[in-house]
């Protein structure tokens, strides 16, 4: 059974349809890549899944349970965590305290006390590589570190489903490699991940499956090497040169 399923999900803002009858499913344990041009509805999809916006019609089911009318904190308590494209740390709190909030209120909402949650927060910071900056004011971090913090906050919530919104934007090649490795390690612990990315080689390499949005509609879904050869996707988003560069050698 899919861990997350969307049926005919539609979101319109006034007359603008950000999402139009989108059907999707995310399978347990997989990394699903979501690509598409800017404005195609990718972030909107994350927003409606996480409860940030209500949907206009359709339904979203998490492990079979409808979540599309839930408030964001309820969605979080069920085990879904997300990051923001433009990172949003709690600026007056230190790095460790930012992550602590996730540990305290995420899936295990208040089941662990403050002391235990601090322990969990330190573990997460270790995982993402921010341990040495634990007590820094969160406003003083570099971009790459802020992206790590954003990820750490979501991880501390112990999600079953993690929604990543362009975590690699603005990173150097090496930083992208590290992030990809991190995402794989997180996935290996059993967390299902939805990755929105524009860094194509990263998302093609990371994802088990990919689906493509364009003008709020799903235009393709499948394995990475299929997507790369889909005429529609090439026309809408990838472009011919790019697609050629990503053909598998065996196809040449």
């Amino acid at each position: 059974m899919a861990i997350l399923q969307g049926n005919k999900v539609t979101k319109n803002f006034g007359g603008l349809y950000a999402l139009s009858n989108v059907d999707f499913e995310i399978r347990p344990g997989e990394i699903l890549g979501l690509i598409g041009p800017n404005g195609s509805g990718k972030t909107t999809l994350i927003n409606v899944i996480s409860g940030f916006y209500p949907i206009s019609s359709g339904e979203i089911l998490f492990k079979g349970y409808p979540i599309h009318s839930l408030k964001p904190y309820r969605v979080a308590n069920l085990g879904i965590a997300r990051t923001f494209q433009v990172v949003r740390p709690f600026v007056q709190l230190r790095v460790i305290e930012n992550v602590l909030v996730g540990a305290l209120f995420g899936k295990n909402n208040l089941q662990a006390g403050v002391k235990e949650s601090f322990r969990r927060a330190r573990q997460v910071l270790d995982l993402v590589g921010l341990s040495d900056k634990m007590d820094f004011p969160s406003g003083s971090l570099t971009l790459a570190d802020r992206k790590k913090l954003e990820l750490a906050k979501a991880l501390a919530m112990e999600p079953e489903l993690l929604l990543l919104d362009e975590v690699m934007a603005g990173l150097t090649f090496k930083e992208i490699e590290e992030t990809m490795d991190l995402i794989r390690r997180i996935n290996a612990t059993g967390v299902t991940i939805l990755v929105i990315e524009h860094v194509i080689h990263a998302v093609l390499n990371l994802s088990h499956r990919i689906f493509v949005l364009h003008h709020g509609e799903k235009i393709a879904e499948g394995l990475p090497h299929e997507i790369v050869r889909s005429a529609r996707v090439i026309e809408a988003y990838l472009g011919k040169e790019y697609a050629k560069a990503y053909q598998e050698p065996s196809d040449a």
């Binding site: 996480s50 409860g51 940030f52 408030k71 964001p72 904190y73 969605v75 979080a76 308590n77 965590a81 997300r82 923001f84 949003r88 740390p89 709690f90 600026v91 007056q92 709190l93 305290e97 602590l100 909030v101 996730g102 305290l104 209120f105 995420g106 899936k107 909402n109 208040l110 006390g113 403050v114 002391k115 949650s117 601090f118 906050k153 919530m157």
Partner: protein, 324 residues
């Protein structure tokens, strides 16, 4: 993280003991001044919980002060309820009203919240001004007189307000160390993100508001019994609401000791001004407010924190920070 060091505990114990024996050697007017300082410590620290920790700036917390004063007054005067019981009632009324009002009002933010909280306090002031009968209306309410001579009475209220101040500080301290405190800070820094991370923001906002009302109501009751006569224009006054804000701003909004520092400084200053230049007391206060808001909006606590690299440019930067 969750326990104070032994050294600090001993320090606080010593300070409290000193404060405890202090009244025995000084004149009544100094005792009164300190009592007033303790009272404003409670008011500003309480306000700090909703304003500083949670970031929801209320300009109407005098509402709870007035309700507390009148609850105690009416109970003691008409039902002959003992003082302490009346204070508990004041606490309950303040807490309850905060809960009821909080649900609609805390959906607002910024300007609208400020005006709405101001409006609620003013509405209540007018209500009490017009309520004839048991609360005395615009003519005010007289409390039964506390027993004992002037000095004894001044001691009693000194220790009462000191106790209230200590309790409020303990409450504030504990809130910051508990999950609720982190929820409030998250709400303050980014409410949408707090929501998405699993925080039931409405619950914690209302909790913060109720906590801010609790001791405010209690000292309202103590205040009434202390000054023996209250009227709506005094206890529901916008001056009290704004004093809470400016004391916390001066000391350091969102910090544990900021409100104490702010209450201390402003009360002493106020007292000095009234005794020396009473005509211009308000003007000097207004001037101080302007200077603090422009040059040091994050208050003295931050100045202390940055003292090593402090210079004139710190203040200049603050002044320039929000200009067009």
């Amino acid at each position: 993280m969750t326990r104070i060091s032994v050294g600090k505990s001993i320090f606080f114990l010593i300070v409290i003991c000193l404060l405890g024996v202090f009244p025995l050697g000084v004149g009544v007017s100094i005792i009164r001044l300190l009592t007033s300082i303790f009272m404003y410590t409670v008011l500003s620290q309480s306000w700090n919980i909703i304003g500083g920790y949670t970031g929801y700036i209320s300009f109407g917390n005098a509402l709870f002060f007035g309700l507390g004063a009148y609850t105690t007054g009416v109970l003691m005067l008409h039902l002959h309820t003992p003082f302490v019981l009346s204070l508990l009632a004041s606490a309950a009324v303040a807490f309850g009203v905060a809960f009821l009002i909080g649900i609609p009002i805390l959906r607002l933010k910024g300007h609208y919240l400020a005006v709405a909280t101001f409006g609620v306090a003013e509405a209540m002031r007018e209500v009490f001004n017009n309520l004839r009968g048991f609360s005395g209306g615009g003519e005010g309410l007289s409390f039964p007189l506390p027993p004992g001579d002037i000095r004894m009475v001044s001691y009693q209220f000194y220790y009462l307000m000191l106790l209230a101040a200590i309790l409020t500080m303990i409450m504030a301290y504990h809130v910051t160390r508990r999950p609720a405190g982190y929820a409030m800070a998250a709400i303050r820094d980014d409410e949408d993100v707090a929501n998405v991370m699993g925080i039931h923001t409405t619950k914690y906002k209302i909790l913060a508001f109720c906590l801010s009302a609790l001791f405010t109501g209690v000292v309202g009751g103590i205040f009434g019994y202390w000054v023996t006569f209250i009227e709506p224009n005094n206890v529901f006054s916008i001056q009290i609401s704004v004093m809470m804000v400016i004391m916390v701003l001066l000391g350091g909004i969102g910090t544990l000791w900021g409100p104490v520092i702010g209450a201390f400084i402003l009360e002493i200053l106020s007292d000095l001004l009234i005794s020396r230049v009473v005509e211009y007391h308000g003007a000097v206060l207004g001037f101080i407010i302007i200077v603090v808001v422009l040059a040091a909006p994050r208050g003295i606590m931050e100045i202390i924190k940055e003292r090593k690299k402090l210079s004139f440019s710190y203040f200049l930067e603050n002044i320039r920070k929000y200009q067009a």
